[in-house]
C-alpha cells in the first residue's frame, strides 16, 4: 500500500509539510510510525526544522545512527542544514553536484542554485535534466521536483512553461493528482492564470488550510495569510485584504520581503501610495535584494533615460 495515500500513515505529515505547517511536522514522534515510514518522517522533520530556522544537526546525527546505510541522504541534509545555519556551504557539497541522483538531492540542489548562485536558468536546466532522466515510475511518485520547476518558471513570469508542466499531469495516474503537491501547484497556476473563478478556487484552497489549527504556529499562519493577502488583492477585495493585513501584522513575525512588496501594491491601490516610501525603506532593510527593489531600480533608470531623451534644452 502506498503510505502517502489517503489512508496511509504519511498522508497527514506530508500535507502538513508542504503547507508550511512545520511545527506540526516536528511535533510527531518517530515511534508513531511504522518502521518502513520512519526514515521519510525523519526527513520531513529535519527539513521542517531547517525551515523554521533551527539547527537540525542533532536530528541528523540521530538519524545516521538509527538508519545506517543512508549516508547519502544524511550527508545531503547535513549540507543543507549547514547552508541554512551558516549561510555558506563549506563542504562545497552542492557545488560538486553536477547531476542529481535522487529526488531530494535534485530539489535541494536546485534551491541552492537559486538561493546562493542566483542562477534560475541553470537551476531550471539542472532540474529538467533530473526529471527527464528519472524513470517513469519514479516520475509519478516524485513530484516535488515538478513543484520547484513550476515555481522557477513562474518566478520568471513564464506562465506557459509552467502551465505545460501542469498539463502534463494529465498523463499521470489519478493518484498523483490527489497528492498535496499537485494541489499546491494547481493553486499557484489558478491564481496566476487569473479570472475570478480560478483565483477564488485558489483562495479557497488556502482558506481551508487556515481552518486547521495554527494556534501554536504563528510562522505557518503568517505564510498562509501572506498568500491569502495576495489572492484577496488580486480579487480586488480590498476591505478583506485590509483585514488580512491587520491579522498579519498582529502575528508579529520578522519582516518578510514578499509581504512588504505586496503591501506596497496594496498601498497604491487603497491609499494612493501614501506609505510607499516608508514601506520601500522597510523592504530594503528586510530583504535588500528583493526582486521588487531590483525591478524598481531598473524601471527608474529606464525612466531616467526617458527624461533625458525627451527633455528640451530650454
Amino acid at each position: 500500500m502506498d503510505a502517502f495515500s489517503d489512508s496511509g500513515e504519511l498522508y497527514t505529515i506530508r500535507n502538513q509539510f508542504y503547507t508550511n505547517q512545520h511545527h506540526k511536522v516536528k511535533s510527531y514522534s518517530l515511534n508513531q510510525f511504522s518502521p518502513e515510514s520512519q526514515l521519510k518522517v525523519l526527513e520531513y522533520q529535519i527539513r521542517s526544522t531547517i525551515a523554521v530556522e533551527e539547527d537540525a544537526s542533532q536530528l541528523i546525527e540521530e538519524g545516521k545512527s538509527k538508519f545506517p546505510g543512508n549516508e547519502d541522504l544524511f550527508q545531503l541534509l547535513s549540507a543543507w542544514d549547514d547552508l541554512k545555519s551558516f549561510g555558506t556551504d563549506d563542504s562545497t557539497y552542492f557545488d560538486d553536484i553536477k547531476t542529481a541522483s535522487y529526488e531530494l538531492q535534485a530539489v535541494l540542489t536546485t534551491i541552492y542554485l537559486v538561493k546562493l548562485e542566483k542562477d534560475i536558468d541553470q537551476a531550471i536546466t539542472f532540474l529538467t535534466n533530473y526529471i527527464d532522466n528519472a524513470n517513469t515510475l519514479n516520475k509519478y511518485n516524485e513530484i516535488e521536483p515538478f513543484l520547484i520547476l513550476v515555481q522557477l518558471h513562474l518566478i520568471k513570469g513564464n506562465f506557459s512553461a509552467a502551465n505545460k508542466i501542469f498539463l502534463s499531469f494529465k498523463n499521470f495516474p489519478d493518484s498523483a493528482r490527489d497528492n498535496i503537491i499537485y494541489q499546491v501547484l494547481e493553486s499557484w497556476l489558478l491564481a496566476i492564470k487569473g479570472e475570478s473563478d480560478n483565483i477564488n478556487n485558489s483562495y479557497y484552497f488556502y482558506d481551508e488550510l487556515l481552518s486547521t489549527d495554527f494556534d501554536d504556529d504563528p510562522q505557518g499562519k503568517f505564510k498562509l495569510l501572506n498568500v491569502l493577502f495576495v489572492l484577496t488583492i488580486q480579487l480586488k477585495h480590498y476591505p478583506e485584504a485590509q483585514e488580512l493585513l491587520t491579522q498579519i501584522k498582529a502575528l508579529n513575525q520578522k519582516p518578510n520581503g514578499d509581504f512588504i512588496a505586496n503591501h506596497i501594491t496594496f498601498d497604491y491601490l487603497v491609499n494612493d501610495g501614501a506609505n510607499v516610501d516608508k514601506l520601500l525603506v522597510e523592504l530594503k532593510e528586510a530583504e535588500s535584494d528583493h526582486p521588487l527593489l531590483k525591478d524598481l531600480e531598473e524601471k527608474n533608470s529606464v525612466f531616467d533615460e526617458i527624461v533625458a531623451k525627451y527633455s528640451v534644452s530650454a
Binding site: 537559486v114 515555481q151 518566478i155 513564464n158 487569473g194 479570472e195 505564510k223 495576495v230 488580486q234 527624461v307
Partner: protein, 1206 residues
C-alpha cells in the same frame, strides 16, 4: 393589412389543397383527377399523381410520416407514399363523392366525409374502417378532428354543424385486444358499427349547431380556443363557442355576396379567413367580427382555403389553380444605432437590443394605438439626438408615419404621449433634426423638422416608386428600373444605377458600399452607385448586413449566405425559419425572427474570411486560416484551383489522386512522385513521366520508365543521356527477355556489331550477319558465317564497302536532369515549410478607416433653407454646431503606436492589448508609454510623471509566495477578473475611481487657503489622467472634464499666488490679476472667493466701476446671505462714483482666454497657441516652452490628442 402572394399555379379547377408540415410543398387536387405536388418556394411542379377517376376534392399530408391521403368522386380514399410517389392502398367504403379527408394528429386515423351522409374513420395502419358516423341527413361537406381533444366537427348541407365526441373510439382502440373475438362478435360489430361488444358508443353527437339558413359548406375548430367557424351557402361566416356542456352561436360575419365555401381560423392571430364563389377571399377580425381586408380575383371562384400549420402562409384553390399567400409582411421594423438595435416586436412594442451585452431591453413603448388595429409597422428609423423613433405603417394611400420620443427610462411598454404623425409611405431621419417623408400618390418628398413642420417640399419624378435611406442628407429614390442617389439639400441627383425593383438597402459599416435588395437580386454598389457586383438568387432574398471586414451576409428564405465584393459567394448556414440579419459581430449574426425576437446565430466565418483574404492577396491571413482551421472540402479545393492557387489547395488535400493532379498543375514533381508511388497505377505513371520529361527531370523519367517496363524508351533515354553503362545493361536485359528486336536496337545504340551479328546468326539471318561482319572488318566471323551457310565467299557479291562507322562518344558524364531555373517557392510553400508567416512581406489590403456616420448622429447639420427669405425662426440651433469635432478617426491613430518587443505570459497579453500609454506603463514598457505620450500630448518633461509611472506599474504586480527559500512568483492584477478572452486581458490601472476624492482634496486645500498644495493636488490629478485607462466614452469624457477643471484651478490659483507675491506698490497689476482670477472657471463657491478678492481689491483701490461689476457677479451666484449683503453694500457705495481710478487691462464684457505664462488676456481673434493635454492657452511667443499648468507638455507641440479608452 397587406396580402402578399408568394406563389400561383395555373391549372384546371383546383378543389383541394394542403401544406406539407416541414417542406415548402403544397399538394393540389384538381377537378381533372390529377394531384399535383408543388414546391411553392421555387415555383416548380415536383410531381403529379394520377390514380383517381374523376375529380379529386381533397388531400392532406400526414403530420410526421411521408404519406398523404386523397379522396375523390370515385368514392375512394387513397393513401400515397411520398417516398415512392405511388399509391400504397385504397380505402373503399363510401358510397358517394368524398368531400374532405384528413389525418389524425397522433393516432393512425383518417377521417373522411362524403355525400353518402356519413363520416368515416379509418385506421391507415391496418387499413380498416373503424367507425362510421351517421346522423347528418344531407351531404356531409366537411369533417375534421379537433387538434387536441377527441372531437370532430362536421358541416352538412342539412344546414347543421355537428360536434361529435369520439373519446369512446379512442378508448376502444387503445385498449388491448384480449383474445380472438368470436365470429358472432365480429358480425355484431359489423352490424352495429357505432357500438362495440361492451355497448360502448364509438362516437356520439355532442352538439348540433343550427343557425345557418342554407347548407353549411365548411366548419373548423380554433387551434387553441373552444371556437368553431363555419361557412354556408347563406353567404355568411358564423362563429360558435362551446363549453363542456353546450355550444352556441357567437356572431355572424356578413359581406360575401356568394356562397361561402370555406372558412378557417388564423393559426396564431385573431383572424378568420373565408373564401367564396363571389371570387373573394375575406379576412375578418375574430374579436370584433368586422371585415379587415378582402382580395378579389377577376374570374375565379374560390373553393377552399388552408393554413400552414406553423408558418404565416395560406393556400386557396380557385377555378384556375392555387395561390399561396401570406397576410402582412413579417419583417420586423428595425434600426441600428451604434451598438443598439431598435425593433418592433410581435406585440407591436418597441424594444432595443444591446449587441455588447447580448440582451434585449424590456418593451419600452407600445405602438398598438398607432394606425389601425391590423396595420403593420413597416420601417423604423432612430434619432439619437432626441432619442426618438420614426415609424411608418399602412399601405398605399393610408401610409402614415409617426414620430415618437422614446421614454428616458425603460419601465415596460408605455403608451406614447407625444406623437407627431403625418402622411407618408416611407420616412426616415436624414440628419439629427430633419427627417423626410415620401408620399407615393403625389410623388412628393417632404423634409420636416422634429416639430413636424414642413421645411421643404420636393416634387419628385413620377417614376419614383419608393424612397430608401441614403446616408446623411441623402435618400435613394427607387424607380422600377433604377435607383438614384439624391441629395435632398441641393435637390440634386448625384448618381444613378440601373437595377430593377429594389426593395431594401443595406449600407456597409464604413458607408462605402451598399447592397440593394430586390426580390431575387442583390446589387452591390459603391456609395456613388457604381456597380460592384450583382447576383441572382432563386430563392427570395430577405435581408442583408455587412460584417466589419466588408463581406455582405444575406439571408434568403432558408439560408444565410455571404458574398464578397468580387461576387464570390456561398452558403453559411441553412435556416429552419426565415431570419432577418441585422448585424454581424465576428462569429455571431444577430437576426430578427418573424416573431419579432432577436436570435443570435453562430456561424463559421472561416470560409468567407479565407476567400476574402485570398482575393485580397492577404496571404498571411490565408495561411493563418489554413493552419488554424479545419477548412476542407471539395468546394474550397475547387475554388482554389479555379482562382489559380493549386499550391494552396495542395495543402488541404489528403486524397492522393487529387494531390497528384494538383501537384502536376503546380509542376511540383516531387509531390507528384510521392503520390504516384502511393497510387501506383499505370495511367498515373504515364502522366508523371510525361510531365517529368517536359521538365527535363530525367531521374523521374527513368524511374517511371522502369516502373512501366518501357524498355525501348528507357534504352533510348540512356542513349541520349550518353549513359553507356546502363545502355549495356539494357542490352543484357533485352537478351534475358529474349526480345530480339530490342536487342538489335540496343546494339545499334551502342554500336556493338559483334553482338548484332550473333543475334542475326541466332535468328537465322545469315546473309545479314555476314554483310555486317564483313563490312565491319570481322573477317574471321564472316568466314564462320559463310561456313555455316555453306557458301563460298565468291558466291556473295557485296557492294563497295566504306569505312566502319565509329560510335560517337559522349562528351562528358551522362546527362543529368535538365537544369531548371531556380524557382522561388511560392508564398505558401515557403511559409508552410518554414512556419514563418510574419516575416513575409506582402501588401495587406487597405482597410477603409473612415467610419460611416449614421444620419441621426451626423455631425454636419443638414441645411435645407430654400432661400434666404425664410424667417430666422426656422433657423437651426447653431449652438449645437459647436460641439462637432468628435471626428477622432481623422488621426491615423495606429502610427502613434509603437512596435513593442514580444513578451511572454500575462505581460505579453497586456502589451499586445495595450491601447493607451497607461496600458504600456502598467506592462512595464515605459519607453512605449513615453513615446505615445510624446506623440499624443507633446510631453517633453517626464520627471513629474515618474511617480505616476511607478504607481501604474506597481499597482498591478503581486508576489505570490511559494516554496520557502525560493523567490516569490510573479502574479498580476487584471483590470477585469471576469474577462476570459486573453485578447482582452488588461492590467488594472488605478486612478479613475479616486478622481472624485482627489478633487475633493484639492478643494479642501483651496478652502483652507492652502493654494500651493491645492495646485499640486490638481496637477497630480492631471498626471493621473495622463496615464490612465478607462472603459468607455463616458469615463473618457469625465476625465476630459476633470482635466479642464484642473486646468482652470491651477491657472486661477497660480494667478492668485502671483498676485499675492506682487510688490504691494504694483497696484495696477494687483487689480488686473485679481480680475483675471475671477475668469477662471471655478466652481461657484470658489468663484465667489475670487470675486470677493477682486471686489475688495478694486474697492480698496477706488476702482469703483470694477468693484460694482464684481459685486454684481457675486450677487448673480449668491443672491442672498452674508456675502450678498456685503456685495450689495459695496455695490451701493461704488455705484455712487461709478468710475475707476486706475485703468487696468480688463474688459469685463469681453471674452478672453488668459495666457498661462504671462497671466494676461488673449482676446478673441488674437493669435495664440495651445497646449494639448489640458488645452491651456498661450501667447504665440511661448510656442515650444513647457506648459506652466501641466509642467510636462510642450506648448504648441504637434500632437494627436490623449487617448485613454483601453
Amino acid at each position: 393589412m397587406k396580402m402578399l402572394t408568394k406563389f400561383e399555379s395555373k391549372s384546371s379547377r383546383a378543389k383541394g389543397v394542403a401544406f406539407h408540415p416541414k417542406r415548402p410543398w403544397v399538394l393540389v387536387s384538381l377537378h381533372s383527377s390529377t394531384i399535383q405536388l408543388w414546391d411553392y418556394r421555387m415555383g416548380t411542379l415536383i410531381d403529379r399523381f394520377e390514380d383517381h377517376v374523376g375529380p379529386v376534392r381533397c388531400v392532406d399530408f400526414h403530420p410526421t410520416q411521408p404519406l398523404f391521403v386523397s379522396g375523390g368522386d370515385d368514392y375512394s380514399i387513397k393513401v400515397w407514399s411520398l417516398n415512392t410517389r405511388k399509391c400504397i392502398f385504397t380505402l373503399n367504403g363510401h358510397l358517394d363523392y368524398i368531400r374532405t379527408v384528413s389525418f389524425h394528429k397522433d393516432l393512425p386515423w383518417i377521417i373522411s366525409c362524403s355525400d353518402d351522409q356519413t363520416i368515416r374513420i379509418w385506421n391507415w395502419q391496418n387499413r380498416q374502417e373503424i367507425a362510421c358516423l351517421t346522423g347528418h341527413n344531407h351531404y356531409v361537406m366537411s369533417a375534421q378532428f379537433h387538434p387536441t381533444e377527441d372531437l370532430i366537427v362536421s358541416a352538412s348541407l342539412d344546414q347543421t354543424v355537428r360536434v361529435w365526441d369520439i373519446s369512446g373510439l379512442r378508448k376502444k382502440h387503445s385498449a388491448p385486444t384480449s383474445s380472438m373475438r368470436s365470429f358472432e362478435d365480429q358480425l355484431q360489430r359489423q352490424q352495429l358499427p357505432q357500438q362495440d361488444i361492451f355497448g360502448n358508443v364509438n362516437a356520439i353527437v355532442k352538439y348540433v349547431l343550427e343557425g345557418h339558413d342554407k347548407g353549411v359548406n365548411y366548419a373548423a375548430f380554433h387551434p387553441t380556443l373552444p371556437l368553431i367557424v363555419s361557412a354556408g351557402d347563406d353567404r355568411v361566416v358564423k362563429l360558435w363557442r362551446m363549453s363542456d356542456t353546450k355550444a352556441w352561436e357567437v356572431d355572424t360575419c356578413r359581406g360575401h355576396t356568394g356562397n361561402v365555401l370555406c372558412a378557417v381560423f388564423h393559426p396564431h392571430q385573431d383572424l378568420i379567413l373565408s373564401v367564396s364563389d363571389d371570387k373573394t377571399i375575406r379576412v375578418w377580425d375574430l374579436n370584433k367580427r368586422v371585415p379587415i381586408k378582402q382580395f378579389r380575383r377577376e374570374s375565379d371562384r374560390f373553393w377552399l382555403i388552408a393554413s400552414h400549420p406553423t408558418i404565416n402562409l395560406f393556400a386557396s384553390c380557385h377555378d384556375s389553380g392555387v395561390m399561396v399567400f401570406k397576410l402582412e409582411r413579417e419583417r420586423p421594423a428595425h434600426a441600428i444605432f451604434q451598438n443598439k438595435l431598435f425593433y418592433v416586436n410581435a406585440e407591436k412594442q418597441v424594444q432595443s437590443y444591446d449587441f455588447q451585452r447580448n440582451e434585449a431591453s424590456l418593451p419600452m413603448l407600445s405602438l398598438k394605438k398607432i394606425g389601425k388595429t391590423w396595420s403593420f409597422m413597416r420601417t423604423l428609423s432612430y434619432n439619437q439626438s432626441d432619442n426618438s423613433i420614426l415609424v411608418t405603417h399602412g399601405e398605399g394611400d393610408s401610409g402614415n408615419y409617426a414620430l415618437i420620443t422614446l421614454p428616458k427610462h425603460v419601465t415596460g411598454a408605455i403608451e406614447p404621449t407625444d406623437i407627431r404623425q403625418g402622411e407618408g409611405n416611407f420616412a426616415c431621419f436624414i440628419s439629427r433634426n430633419r427627417f423626410v417623408a415620401f408620399i407615393k400618390s403625389s410623388k412628393t418628398l417632404h423634409v420636416k423638422d422634429l416639430s413636424n413642420n414642413i421645411t421643404k417640399t420636393i416634387q419628385l419624378d413620377s417614376s419614383v416608386t419608393d424612397v430608401l435611406y441614403g446616408g446623411p442628407g441623402r435618400v435613394l429614390l427607387v424607380k422600377s428600373h433604377s435607383v438614384v442617389n439624391y441629395d435632398v439639400q441641393q435637390r440634386k441627383e448625384l448618381a444613378e444605377i440601373s437595377v430593377n425593383n429594389v426593395k431594401y438597402v443595406s449600407w456597409s459599416n464604413d458607408g462605402q458600399n451598399l447592397a440593394l435588395l430586390s426580390k431575387h437580386t442583390i446589387t452591390i454598389a459603391t456609395k456613388d452607385l457604381e456597380l460592384v457586383t450583382s447576383m441572382h438568387e432563386t430563392i427570395r432574398i430577405k435581408s442583408a448586413a455587412w460584417d466589419d471586414s466588408g463581406v455582405l451576409l444575406y439571408s434568403t428564405l432558408n439560408h444565410i449566405k455571404y458574398t464578397l465584393l468580387n461576387g464570390d459567394n456561398g452558403i453559411i448556414k441553412t435556416l429552419e425559419n426565415t431570419l432577418y440579419i441585422t448585424r454581424i459581430a465576428q462569429k455571431q449574426v444577430y437576426c430578427l425572427n418573424r416573431s419579432g425576437e432577436v436570435e443570435v446565430v453562430n456561424i463559421d466565418p472561416t470560409e468567407y474570411r479565407f476567400k476574402k483574404s485570398l482575393v485580397n492577396k492577404n496571404f498571411a491571413e490565408v495561411l493563418r486560416i489554413i493552419k488554424n482551421s479545419n477548412l476542407v472540402g471539395q468546394n474550397i479545393i475547387a475554388y482554389l484551383q479555379k482562382k489559380g492557387y493549386p499550391e494552396v489547395a495542395l495543402q488541404f488535400v489528403q486524397d492522393p489522386e487529387t494531390r497528384f493532379e494538383l501537384a502536376l498543375e503546380c509542376s511540383n514533381i516531387n509531390v507528384a512522385l510521392e503520390q504516384a508511388k502511393i497510387l501506383n497505377n499505370n495511367t498515373i505513371w504515364e502522366k508523371l513521366g510525361e510531365e517529368a520529361l517536359n521538365q527535363g527531370n530525367l531521374e523521374v523519367v527513368e524511374f517511371v520508365y522502369q516502373k512501366l517496363h518501357l524498355f525501348d524508351k528507357l534504352a533510348f533515354l540512356y542513349t541520349y543521356k550518353g549513359d553507356s553503362e546502363r545502355l549495356h545493361k539494357m542490352a543484357t536485359v533485352a537478351e534475358h527477355r529474349g526480345d530480339v528486336s530490342a536487342l538489335v536496337q540496343n546494339t545499334l545504340y551502342n554500336n556493338d556489331v559483334k553482338k548484332r551479328c550473333q543475334v542475326y546468326i541466332q535468328s537465322g539471318m545469315l546473309p545479314l550477319a555476314y554483310v555486317l561482319a564483313k563490312s565491319n572488318g570481322f573477317t574471321e566471323l564472316a568466314q564462320q558465317i559463310l561456313q555455316e551457310a555453306g557458301v563460298e565467299e565468291k558466291d556473295v557479291e557485296l557492294p563497295e564497302i566504306g569505312s566502319t562507322v565509329a560510335l560517337p562518344q559522349p562528351v562528358t558524364e551522362p546527362l543529368g536532369n535538365w537544369p531548371l531555373k531556380e524557382s522561388s517557392l511560392s508564398f505558401f510553400e515557403s511559409a508552410l515549410l518554414t512556419g514563418q508567416v510574419e516575416n513575409l512581406s506582402l501588401e495587406q489590403s487597405e482597410e477603409a478607416t473612415d467610419k460611416f456616420v449614421d444620419a441621426s448622429a451626423a455631425v454636419v447639420d443638414f441645411n435645407d433653407e430654400d432661400d434666404a427669405l425664410e424667417d430666422e425662426g426656422d433657423a437651426w440651433d447653431l449652438d449645437d454646431d459647436l460641439d462637432i469635432p468628435e471626428d477622432d478617426e481623422i488621426i491615423p491613430a495606429d502610427e502613434d503606436f509603437p512596435v513593442v518587443a514580444a513578451a511572454d505570459g500575462e505581460i505579453g497579453y497586456w502589451l499586445k492589448n495595450a491601447k493607451t500609454a497607461g496600458g504600456y506603463a502598467a506592462a512595464g514598457s515605459f519607453e512605449q508609454a513615453a513615446s505615445l505620450l510624446s506623440k499624443q500630448l507633446g510631453v517633453v518633461n517626464f520627471e513629474p510623471l515618474r511617480s505616476r509611472f511607478l504607481e501604474v506599474y506597481s499597482s498591478s504586480k503581486l508576489y505570490l509566495p511559494g516554496i520557502d527559500d525560493l523567490p516569490a512568483m510573479k502574479d498580476y492584477i487584471r483590470a477585469d477578473n471576469d474577462e476570459d478572452n486573453p485578447n482582452k486581458f488588461k492590467p488594472y490601472i488605478p486612478g479613475f475611481d479616486s478622481l472624485e476624492d482627489q478633487l475633493a482634496l484639492g478643494f479642501k486645500y483651496f478652502n483652507a487657503n492652502n493654494l500651493e498644495d491645492a495646485i499640486s493636488t490638481f496637477r497630480s490629478i492631471i498626471y493621473t489622467i495622463t496615464l490612465i485607462t478607462v472603459e468607455d466614452e463616458d469615463q473618457e469624457s469625465k476625465c476630459k472634464d476633470v482635466l479642464v477643471l484642473c486646468r482652470e484651478y491651477v491657472l486661477g490659483l497660480s494667478i492668485e499666488l502671483a498676485r499675492r507675491a506682487l510688490d504691494p506698490n504694483d497696484i495696477k497689476r494687483n487689480l488686473e490679476l485679481a480680475a483675471y482670477f475671477t475668469r477662471a472657471q471655478l466652481q461657484n463657491p470658489h468663484k465667489l472667493n475670487a470675486l470677493q478678492v477682486a471686489m475688495t481689491q478694486s474697492f480698496k483701490h477706488k476702482n469703483f466701476a470694477s468693484a460694482s461689476h464684481f459685486a454684481d457677479e457675486i450677487l448673480k451666484i449668491s443672491p442672498s446671505g452674508q456675502r450678498a449683503e456685503r456685495a450689495q453694500k459695496v455695490k451701493a457705495r461704488a455705484d455712487q462714483v461709478a468710475s475707476d481710478a486706475i485703468e487696468i487691462d480688463f474688459d469685463p464684457y469681453a471674452e478672453f482666454d488668459i495666457c498661462a505664462a504671462t497671466y494676461t488676456p488673449i482676446y478673441r481673434g488674437s493669435p495664440s497657441v495651445s497646449e494639448e493635454l489640458v488645452g491651456a492657452k498661450y501667447k504665440p511667443e511661448f510656442k515650444g516652452s513647457v506648459c506652466k499648468i501641466t509642467q510636462i507638455t510642450a506648448v504648441g507641440a504637434q500632437a494627436s490628442g490623449l487617448r485613454i479608452i483601453g
